[in-house]
């Protein structure tokens, strides 16, 4: 089997996606969920850079990837802060037990 560097990156992206989705399906802990989402977003960042390279718009792909990294960091920080508050108020981090907002 003869893999080009781009193929390896693509494989890595798919692998990250698979790990992320698997984690999303089985995780109950809120903090672990944030981590899993980070893995998913990293897959997206890699896919963006890859798409930029393979379509010839490397600059565009990389700048989009950088934007996603910045935005995603903010999301992660806020999510973790929320997780801390949830732990304080609800006494648990298990998402299946957090049902007070269910309509």
């Amino acid at each position: 089997m003869n893999l080009s560097p781009l193929d390896i990156v693509l494989l890595g992206t798919v692998l990250l996606l698979a790990v992320g989705f698997y984690g999303l399906l089985i995780t109950r802990n809120l903090i672990k969920l944030v981590l899993v989402l980070q893995i998913l977003v990293k897959a997206a960042v890699m896919a963006l850079a890859l798409a930029g390279k393979s379509s010839g718009n490397l600059g565009l792909g990389q700048s989009l990837a950088a934007t996603v990294i910045v935005a995603d960091t903010v999301v992660a920080v806020v999510a973790l802060a929320l997780a801390v508050q949830v732990r304080k108020h609800a006494g648990t981090l298990d998402v299946t037990k957090l049902s007070s907002l269910r309509g």
């Binding site: 989705f21 399906l25 969920l33 907002l101 309509g103």
Partner: protein, 582 residues
């Protein structure tokens, strides 16, 4: 100059709305004064716009390629409707000074009225379909906000929501029609659509034509969307006058008149328009026969008169329909405002509890009688001329069965209008109450409108010349006063219609003793249910709620299930991509 005036006509009411929104409710005198100042200024600007009418595009603003150019065209159709919206709107605002004297939250009231007037002016002046749709939606929003003005009354809120939902159906029709026209034409300009209609593929043109018909029917409360207008009667009465005479319902008739030359060739379209007008006029007149609520009776009569206008467009009488729109705007505003004065003075809307109010409020009685005579179509008030013009147009171009129906509606109109007038102002007092005469601001509006009901038909010559010179696609020929009176008085149809009207009056005179009866008959039930359309509305509402509760189950709030959903969607997209590449 035209551009500046267009800017003033739309901008002044909107600026007034912004200013009034910020005026504290502690200062009602300032609120009244500002509202009257802004709306009257807009009224004068709209009158000043009339001499500048032309078919040329007056304002052209580039707003990016997806929207085309924001254009304003001040042609005859647009300037006459703008003048109606702004002048009648200003009179309704002046009337509100007395009517809303002791009410709270006048900022909200006046701000939405001014926004409404400006949006209506923008709607008719706009030369771009997409922006026409934006203005169209703003008028829908304003009507909702004003109908539910008394927002602690559940009936008012329900009426507002109903108006919003039903007119949204029309909004979708307009948007779909505009997008279809764009996809075939590559332009949102109204003038392009009118000029190139014949080159469009016939199925695209038909889709646009029927989309616009749905839009017009929903906006003008025509069959089968006529149910929202009577429920809109929970609004303060000046708002009802505004919706019925100056803004909102005229937009639908305007839309049909504007695009008549483009759509007249679409097979079945003119027949559909004729039918919508005829059915609306008939069933609304029937419901008005049984109505006991003064404002609801007037609302049914509006639906019925709008039916006349829609019918006129269906049979090719664009001039007749617009002339009737002008007459109707004047006499219906008069009737509504006079009814408002009665309701304000007597504290009830139920006609069975009124009677003999004419002695206590002679001024209001007199102007109401003027409006009622115009509505019946009695010579020589304005309603007579325009209604006979519509019937003439129907005789020369339309199917004869439709004409017979419309003449019958004229008789029914005479019956219910006399019934209304009799129950409120004449006969014996069924409840003793002390009603006070209208205030000074009320008298100003009512007096001007009463004068209008006697005189606006004299404007036929400048009005028809205006439409002839500035509407290149409509093929309207101007009429002067002597031609008009010759045409009307030489036609046997006029006398036939007058006989039917007299018959309607005579039948009421025979049964006037039972008119205030309190027993409910099958007619009451039928009209309360709007010939089954209220049932249909309720069914649609309950289906929607039921579908919502079924779909609610898919909202589990469990993250894993949502992830499964995302994965599933991703798989479908992937499969589709792979499949389409092969």
């Amino acid at each position: 100059m035209t551009g500046i005036l267009i800017g003033l006509v739309i901008g002044l009411p909107w600026l007034g709305a912004l200013v009034l929104w910020r005026v504290s409710d502690e200062r009602p005198r300032l609120q009244h004064a500002l509202a009257v100042a802004f709306s009257s200024a807009a009224g004068f600007a709209s009158l000043a716009l009339i001499p500048f009418a032309s078919a040329e595009t007056a304002v052209r603003i580039d707003v990016g390629r997806y929207f085309g150019e924001l254009t304003f065209v001040a042609d005859g159709l647009a300037v006459s409707l703008t003048a109606i919206a702004c002048v009648i709107g200003a009179l309704a605002v002046i009337f509100s000074m007395d009517y809303m004297r002791a009410e709270a939250q006048l900022s909200r009231y006046y701000a939405f009225i001014l926004l409404f007037i400006g949006a209506m002016a923008g709607l008719v002046l706009s030369g771009n379909l997409l922006f026409m749709f934006f203005f169209w939606e703003i008028t829908a929003l304003c009507s909702y906000a004003l109908i539910s003005f008394y927002n602690d009354d559940p009936k008012a809120v329900a009426g507002g929501v109903k108006a919003l939902l039903i007119t949204q159906v029309g909004g979708i029709g307009l948007l779909a029609g505009a997008l279809t026209a764009y996809s075939a034409l590559g332009s949102y300009q109204v003038s392009d659509l009118l000029a190139k209609a014949e080159t469009l593929p016939s199925n695209f043109l038909a889709l646009t034509a029927f989309g616009f018909l749905i839009a017009a029917a929903a906006k003008s409360a025509q069959f089968p969307f006529h149910t929202w207008l009577p429920d809109a009667m929970e609004a303060p009465t000046p708002v009802s006058a505004l919706i019925h005479a100056a803004t909102m319902v005229n937009a639908g008739v305007y839309l049909l008149a504007r695009f008549y030359p483009a759509f007249a060739q679409v097979p079945g379209w003119t027949l559909a328009v004729t039918l919508v007008g005829l059915v609306s006029a008939l069933i609304a007149a029937f419901m008005a026969l049984a109505a006991t609520d003064l404002k609801r009776a007037l609302a049914y009569s509006t639906v019925s008169q709008l039916g006349y206008m829609v019918y006129a467009i269906g049979v090719g009488g664009v001039l007749a329909s617009q002339f009737h729109l002008l007459s109707h705007a004047v006499f219906k505003a008069l009737l509504f405002l006079a009814a408002g004065a009665v309701i304000h003075a007597s504290g009830t809307r139920d006609m069975r509890r009124m009677g003999a109010l004419g002695k206590q409020m002679p001024f209001v009685r007199n102007v109401f009688v003027f409006g009622a005579l115009a509505l019946m179509g009695i010579p020589i008030l304005n309603g007579f001329w325009s209604k006979e013009m519509i019937l003439e147009a129907g005789l020369s171009h339309g199917p004869i069965w439709a004409l017979v129906g419309m003449v019958m509606v004229a008789g029914m109109t005479a019956f219910y209008t006399l019934r209304m007038t009799w129950l409120v102002f004449f006969g014996e007092a069924r409840e003793s109450r002390h009603a006070h005469e209208a205030g000074r601001a009320m008298k100003v509006s009512l007096g001007l409108l009463g004068l209008g009901a006697w005189t606006t038909w004299l404007l036929i010559e400048p009005f028809s010349a205006l439409l002839q010179h500035t509407l290149p696609f409509h093929g309207i020929s101007s009429l002067n006063l002597s031609e008009l009176s010759h045409e009307i008085f030489a036609a046997p149809l006029t006398y036939a219609a007058l006989i039917v009207i007299a018959l309607g009056l005579g039948i009421f005179w025979m049964v006037r003793k039972q008119a205030a009866g309190r027993r409910e008959s099958w007619m009451d039930v039928l009209s309360r249910e709007s010939f089954g359309f209220e049932w249909l509305n309720r069914r649609v509402a309950s289906w929607t709620v039921g579908l919502g509760s079924v779909l609610q189950r898919t909202q589990t709030g469990v993250l894993s299930w949502n992830a499964v959903g995302i994965l599933g969607a991703l798989l479908i997209v992937l499969v589709f991509l792979v499949w389409s590449v092969k």
